[in-house]
């Protein structure tokens, strides 16, 4: 049983305050959707929790099972059990998918997997996401299409088995087939054990495949409304207009 606890989190980029007091608790077994208009700070939340150097936490706390994530380096957070699936996965020239994943698994599990076991595990993971096995030898994300990049993020999610996964607009740029494959991957991950998911999205589309337990509406750097799955349906029909006018008023 794991808990990610975000308390009164304020985050700035340069001099500009983006998050203005976010409170959120994600427990294993739960799926939370964060929805909101562009520029509301959804991605900032994801990157700040993961520790991207561009984002400065000015106050508040982020605890994973009581441990202060903000005191940890980026890699320590990941080894503590946090995973961030990125909206724009980074191309890393000259580092093959296979080499990258083996290094990551070794770091997260604390020991290098046997080569044979790793090959098997990688193949099974790739099969499950309809990824061509040839990708194992390609440079990480280099020349991948948007959909291929997102599949590889979910492949990493399934292999690294974090306690809490933050999925930042994993659905953006996917066609219907890719969305289905990626959603199945997320659902396998959810079913695989004691894991919590924080799903950040602009659209309700992915929520048809990945059913959230809680929906939080984000506007102007904080949570402005919370509810169950029915809140997503409301957003589907009415859009974000009510929140954006309220926030700017």
């Amino acid at each position: 049983m794991s808990t990610l606890e975000i308390r009164d989190l304020h985050v700035a980029v340069g001099d500009k305050e983006i998050l203005r007091g976010v409170d959120l608790t994600v427990r294993s077994g739960e799926t939370h959707a964060i929805m909101g208009p562009n520029g509301s700070g959804k991605s900032t939340l994801a990157y700040a929790v993961a520790g991207h150097p561009k984002y400065t936490v000015t106050s508040g706390s982020v605890l994973l099972d009581g441990e202060d994530l903000l005191e940890m380096s980026v890699d320590e957070r990941a080894r503590a059990g946090l995973f961030l699936a990125m909206q724009y996965p980074v191309e890393v020239p000259g580092v093959s998918v296979s080499n990258f994943l083996r290094s990551a698994i070794t770091a997260v599990r604390g020991e290098a997997p046997k080569l044979r076991d790793f090959a098997k595990e990688l193949k099974a993971g790739m099969d499950g996401l309809s990824i061509d096995p040839a990708f194992a030898q390609r440079n990480t994300n280099e020349g991948f299409s948007g959909g291929e990049k997102k599949r590889h993020e979910i492949l990493q999610l399934e292999l690294l088995k974090p306690k809490i996964a933050v999925l930042d607009e994993t659905d953006s740029g996917l066609d219907v087939d890719a969305l289905r494959v990626v959603s199945e991957g997320i659902n396998r991950f959810r079913a695989s054990g004691d894991t919590g998911v924080l799903l950040i999205t602009h659209y309700t589309r992915i929520l048809r495949y990945v059913k959230p337990d809680f929906v939080h509406v984000f506007a102007a750097g904080r949570v402005v409304e919370e509810g169950g799955p029915e809140l997503a349906d409301k957003l589907e029909n009415e859009g974000y207009e009510a929140y954006t006018t309220k926030a700017s008023a």
């Binding site: 993961a50 520790g51 991207h52 150097p53 380096s73 980026v74 890699d75 957070r77 990941a78 080894r79 995973f83 961030l84 990125m86 996965p89 980074v90 890393v92 020239p93 000259g94 580092v95 080499n99 990258f100 290094s103 990551a104 770091a107 997260v108 440079n139 990480t140 990493q156 690294l160």
Partner: protein, 374 residues
């Protein structure tokens, strides 16, 4: 630039076997302005005391002929005429030259290794190597520079019609070595030349690989990798002179620098003369600056004197490790040092894969690893 304009720098514009034809460089000249002359140990002004001290040892493929010849051997200096003072000094000062011949229509069954071992940086030595690959022959050659020396030399690669020569030149000198070298490849019709330069060791290394073509169809690929540590000056000066139609050249040099006063210089001159229609050329230099206090100078020069080229381009970039690369790897649990190692390794990986000889490839890989562990 108009078609009638003379190019700024070509191989034969200013070349001579006679040292006296080149004034002693002062450091203000374009071709010497990056080089710290005070660390040349007298190679540039004739004050270096010649005492020998570089032992040349050849481990040749059975099909390859190896000779040690005197200065009067008529074959020497045919493919290349010295183009600067140090090159002319080396040409007029060497005592024995090594001549490697790959007989025509012969494919060497294994690579040939020329080891040049310096016995101390207290003395200066001059050398000359001629590698002659006869028509339709094929060979792989390794030049392995080790130990300590103050050494200037000229290496001629004469690649005849339809022949293929692949060369790996390792500058793996001790920390106090000074090495100034010219490697010139003269390519005959449809000849193929692959050069892979790896410069890791030495206080000052200035290597000038150049290529000329005598007939159409020549194909040259020049690849380089260097790792510059604190206090080192590693300079590579490329010159590809396209003077005949329908030849190809590709230059890719990548380097990493770390530590105070680590200095890399890369000059990439490519000339496409008016008569060289159908030329296809590209040159690229990338520098990865790993710490403060290191400096990379990168100067690509592409002169095109004909409108009829198949392709011509160049690119140069020097910068730090990309924070986004490191963040991505670290966000997957990989510790910073390991992430850094992976990214730098990746930066060189595609180049190292091109090295023909597996044991040299392994040696370069582990040398890069060792540099990263410093």
């Amino acid at each position: 630039m108009g078609l009638e304009t003379k190019p700024l720098s070509t191989l034969h514009e200013k070349s001579s076997y006679d040292v006296a034809d080149f004034p002693v460089p002062t450091g203000r000249e374009e071709e010497w302005r990056f080089t710290p002359l005070s660390r040349m140990k007298g190679l540039h002004d004739g004050t270096a005391a010649v005492t020998g001290g570089v032992v040349v040892d050849v481990d040749a493929a059975p099909e390859v002929r190896v000779e040690t010849v005197g200065r009067d051997d008529a074959r020497l200096g045919k493919a290349y005429t010295p183009a600067d003072r140090v090159s002319a000094q080396a040409y007029s000062s060497f005592e024995k030259a090594t001549v490697i011949t790959v007989p025509k229509m012969t494919a060497a069954s294994r690579h040939t290794v020329i080891t040049l071992r310096g016995s101390g940086a207290g003395a200066a030595a001059y050398g000359h190597i001629l590698v002659s690959v006869e028509p339709m022959a094929e060979a792989v050659l390794v030049l392995d520079h080790r130990g300590s020396a103050v050494y200037a030399d000229n290496v001629e690669f004469d690649v005849a019609e339809g022949a293929t020569l692949k060369v790996v030149s390792l500058q793996d000198w001790d920390d106090d070595a000074v090495h100034v070298s010219h490697h010139h490849a003269r390519l005959g019709k449809d000849a193929t030349f692959r050069s892979f330069v790896v410069t890791l060791g030495g206080d000052l290394v200035r290597l000038s690989p150049s290529v000329s073509y005598t007939a159409p169809g020549g194909d040259a690929d020049l690849t380089g990798l260097y790792f510059v540590d604190a206090g080192q000056h590693l300079e590579h000066r490329l010159l590809v002179d396209h003077s005949v139609p329908n030849c190809r050249s590709n230059v890719t040099y990548k380097g990493a620098l770390q530590g105070d006063d680590a200095h890399a210089v890369w000059i990439g001159d490519v000339i496409i003369r008016a008569e060289a229609e159908g030329t296809d050329t590209y040159e690229l230099n990338r520098n990865l600056i790993l710490t403060d206090g290191a400096r990379a100078d990168s100067v690509p020069n592409l002169e095109i004197l004909t409108g009829e080229v198949a392709g011509a381009g160049h690119a140069s970039a020097s910068g730090r490790l990309d924070d986004e690369h490191l963040f991505y790897l670290q966000a997957r649990g990989i510790p910073f040092d390991e992430a850094r190692r992976l990214v730098i390794h990746g930066f060189f990986a595609q180049l190292i894969e091109k090295i023909e000889v597996p044991e040299i490839r392994e040696r370069v890989l582990s040398a890069v690893e060792a540099e990263l562990a410093r």
